[in-house]
C-alpha cells in the first residue's frame, strides 16, 4: 500500500510538471494550429537561466526563479515575433518543422553552456528546500514534488480565471475559434500570438525548474523529460486544455507505477521489459489510446445548432 501511495505521489508530481508543458503545447496549437516542438527546449532553457542566475551569479533564489520565468516568457515572445510571425499563412507543416529548428537551436546553445557537469538549481531553504523530503505515514515526499504539484494547480487555476474573465483571455479563445472574425472585432491577432507564446514560455520555465530541481540537475538530457508532455497532449487531444491535464496525469501515473511495479511484475511473468521501461511506457499508452480515440480523449468537440 505504501509503495502504491509512493508511486501515486511521484506520478502525480510528474503529471503536474508534464501538464505545464502540455498546456503550452495546447495553447500554441489552439492559436496557430501548429504543434510547437520547441516547448521542451523552452523548458530546459528556463531551467538554464534560473541556474545561471542563482548559482553562477549568486542572485537570491526567489529573484532568480522569478527572473528566469519572466525571461523565458520574453524568449517565447521573441521567438514568435522573429521566427513565426513571418510564417503566418504558410502551410502548417512548414511552421512545425520551423519549430523543430528552433528547438535544435535553443538546445545547442544551452548544451554548449551546460557542458559535461550537470548544473544545479538554486535552493531557497538550505535544510528542507529542493533537496529535502518529508515522511508522511511512510510515504517519502520530496518538497520539490510537493511544490511542483501546488504550483501547477495554482497556475492552472490562474489560467482558467484568465481565460474566463480577462479581456485578453477571451480574445485568445475567440482567436482560436475564428481568427478572421476575431480580427473583425479589432483584436490584434499578432499580439495574441505573442501573448500565447509568452504564456507557453512561462509555463515551460516552471516545468523546466521542477524537472531539474534538487538532485535531478540540469544536464544535456533533461529535455527528454519535458518531451514526455507530447504523448500527454496527444492522449488528451491537441486542442483541449482539460485534455492536456488528464493526459499528463495518465502519463505521470503510468511512469510512476511502472517504475515501482515493473520488477515484481517481471518476476511474476518471468519476462523482462528491460531497464528504463518506465520512460517508454507513456508512449505505449499513447498508442493504445490512439487506437480507440484517434483524436485523443478530449479532442475537438463542436457546438452546432440543430
Amino acid at each position: 500500500m505504501i509503495i502504491f501511495l509512493q508511486a501515486t505521489v511521484e506520478g502525480l508530481s510528474l503529471a503536474a510538471i508534464y501538464s505545464l508543458v502540455a498546456i503550452g503545447f495546447v495553447l500554441i496549437y489552439k492559436a496557430m494550429e501548429v504543434l510547437s516542438f520547441a516547448q521542451p527546449a523552452l523548458a530546459v532553457v528556463g531551467a538554464g537561466i534560473i541556474s545561471s542566475l542563482a548559482i553562477d551569479r549568486g542572485i537570491p533564489f526567489w529573484l532568480a526563479l522569478f527572473l528566469g520565468v519572466i525571461l523565458t516568457g520574453i524568449l517565447g515572445l521573441l521567438i514568435e515575433r522573429t521566427f513565426l510571425r513571418p510564417m503566418v499563412g504558410e502551410p502548417v507543416f512548414s511552421v512545425a518543422v520551423l519549430t523543430i529548428g528552433i528547438d535544435i537551436l535553443l538546445r545547442t546553445v544551452l548544451d554548449s553552456w551546460i557542458g559535461i557537469n550537470p548544473k544545479y538549481m538554486g535552493d531557497p531553504f538550505p535544510s528542507y528546500g529542493n533537496f529535502g523530503a518529508v515522511k508522511l505515514g511512510g510515504v517519502n515526499i520530496k518538497y520539490l514534488e510537493l511544490a511542483a504539484l501546488v504550483t501547477a494547480i495554482l497556475l492552472i487555476i490562474l489560467l482558467t480565471i484568465f481565460f474566463r474573465k480577462s479581456k485578453y483571455g477571451i480574445a485568445m479563445r475567440a482567436t482560436s475559434y475564428d481568427q478572421e472574425a476575431a480580427m473583425a472585432q479589432g483584436i490584434n491577432v499578432g499580439r495574441i500570438f505573442g501573448l500565447v507564446w509568452m504564456i507557453a514560455g512561462i509555463l515551460a520555465a516552471f516545468a523546466g525548474f521542477f524537472i531539474t530541481g534538487g538532485f535531478n540537475t540540469l544536464s544535456q538530457f533533461s529535455f527528454i523529460s519535458a518531451l514526455r508532455a507530447l504523448p500527454a497532449v496527444v492522449i488528451g487531444g491537441l486542442d483541449s486544455i482539460p485534455g492536456a491535464v488528464v493526459g499528463s496525469i495518465i502519463i505521470g501515473l503510468t511512469q510512476g507505477y511502472v517504475a515501482y511495479y515493473q520488477l515484481s511484475f517481471e518476476s511474476l511473468i518471468g519476462f523482462s521489459f528491460g531497464n528504463g521501461f518506465s520512460v517508454v511506457a507513456p508512449y505505449l499508452i499513447m498508442f493504445v489510446i490512439l487506437i480507440f480515440k484517434p483524436d485523443g480523449l478530449f479532442g475537438t468537440e463542436e457546438v452546432e445548432r440543430v
Binding site: G89, K167, I170, A171, R173, A174, Y177, D178, Q179, E180, A181, A182, M183, A184, Q185, G186, I187, N188, E302, V303, E304, R305
Partner: protein, 262 residues
C-alpha cells in the same frame, strides 16, 4: 464621410476583383450596395476593414478614407479603433463562447465602456438578454444575427458595415432586421448595407450602388433606383405590366459601360 476612390483589388496576384470602384458613404445615411454573387460587394467591405490579407487579396490601386483620413491598408484593429465596425457575412459569432463573452469581444478596442455598451445592446435586443449566459452556438439563426450586429455595435462605431444581414432568415425576421438597421441608423450610426435582398435594402436606404463584375454600374437615390426599369426587372423581379420577360443580355445597356467615377 467614408469614401472609396478608384479601388482596385487583386486576389492571389491574378484575380482582378474590383476594377476601380468608387463609393461615398455620407454621415448619417444608410447606403445600400447591391449586386449579384461575385460582383465584389464583400471585397469592398473587406478592403475597408483591412481583412483582405486573410483571403490573400491586395489593394493595387485607389484609396479609402474616413472623414478625410486615409485608412488604406491599415491594420484591422486600427480600423476598428477609427470607428468602423463590420458584421461579417454569415454572422461568424463565436459559437463556443457565451453571448456576453461575444459582446465583450466586440468591445475589445473600447474596453472602458463595456458595461454600458452591453446594457445598451441588450436593451436593443431583448432576446439576447434572456440567453446572455448561454453558449452563442445554441441561439437561433435570427438571434445569432442580432448577436452579430450587437457585437459590432459594442465598439461604438460611427460606421457600421453589414454584410448580408438577411442571409438565411425568414421573411418576417428580415423585416425585423430592416427595422433594427433603421433604428441603429437613427441613433447616429452610418450604415453600409451589402445585400442580395434588393427590395429590403432599397426600401430602407437613402442611396444605392449597384455593382457588377467589379464595377459600380449604377448609383442613385434609393427611391430612384426602386423605380428604375432595369433595376426593377433584374433586382426586384418585377416586369413592366404586359411585357414578356426579356433576355438578360438585351437589356443590360449599362453592362459594358465604363464608369471611372460615379
Amino acid at each position: 464621410m467614408l469614401a472609396i476612390e478608384n479601388l482596385e483589388v487583386v486576389y492571389q496576384d491574378v484575380i482582378l476583383v474590383l476594377r476601380g470602384v468608387s463609393l461615398e458613404i455620407k454621415k448619417g445615411e444608410i447606403v445600400a450596395l447591391l449586386g449579384s454573387n461575385g460582383a465584389g460587394k464583400t471585397t469592398v467591405i473587406r478592403s475597408i476593414t483591412g481583412l483582405l490579407d486573410v483571403q490573400n487579396g491586395d489593394i493595387t490601386k485607389g484609396s479609402i478614407s474616413v472623414d478625410g483620413e486615409d485608412i488604406t491598408n491599415l491594420d484591422p484593429s486600427k480600423i476598428v479603433e477609427k470607428g468602423i465596425a463590420q458584421v461579417l457575412e454569415g454572422r461568424r459569432i463565436f459559437s463556443e463562447l457565451t453571448v456576453i463573452e461575444n459582446l465583450r469581444l466586440g468591445g475589445h478596442t473600447n474596453s472602458n465602456d463595456i458595461k454600458d455598451n452591453i446594457d445598451k445592446v441588450l436593451d436593443l435586443f431583448p432576446i439576447l438578454k434572456e440567453r446572455s449566459k448561454g453558449k452563442a452556438g445554441y441561439l437561433s439563426g435570427g438571434e445569432q444575427q442580432m448577436l452579430a450586429i450587437g457585437r459590432a455595435l459594442m465598439s461604438d462605431p460611427s460606421y457600421l458595415l453589414l454584410d448580408e444581414p438577411s442571409l438565411g432568415l425568414a421573411p418576417k425576421l428580415v423585416d425585423e432586421v430592416a427595422e433594427l438597421i433603421q433604428e441603429i441608423n437613427s441613433q447616429g450610426v452610418t450604415v453600409l448595407l451589402v445585400e442580395q435582398n434588393a427590395n429590403m435594402a432599397l426600401n430602407i436606404s437613402d442611396h444605392g450602388y449597384i455593382m457588377e463584375t467589379g464595377n459600380v454600374v449604377m448609383d442613385n437615390k434609393s427611391n430612384m433606383l426602386l423605380n428604375d426599369e432595369d433595376v426593377r426587372e433584374f433586382y426586384l423581379g418585377l416586369n413592366a405590366e404586359g411585357t414578356k420577360r426579356k433576355s438578360f443580355k438585351d437589356v443590360k445597356h449599362y453592362k459594358r459601360k465604363k464608369r471611372w467615377l460615379s
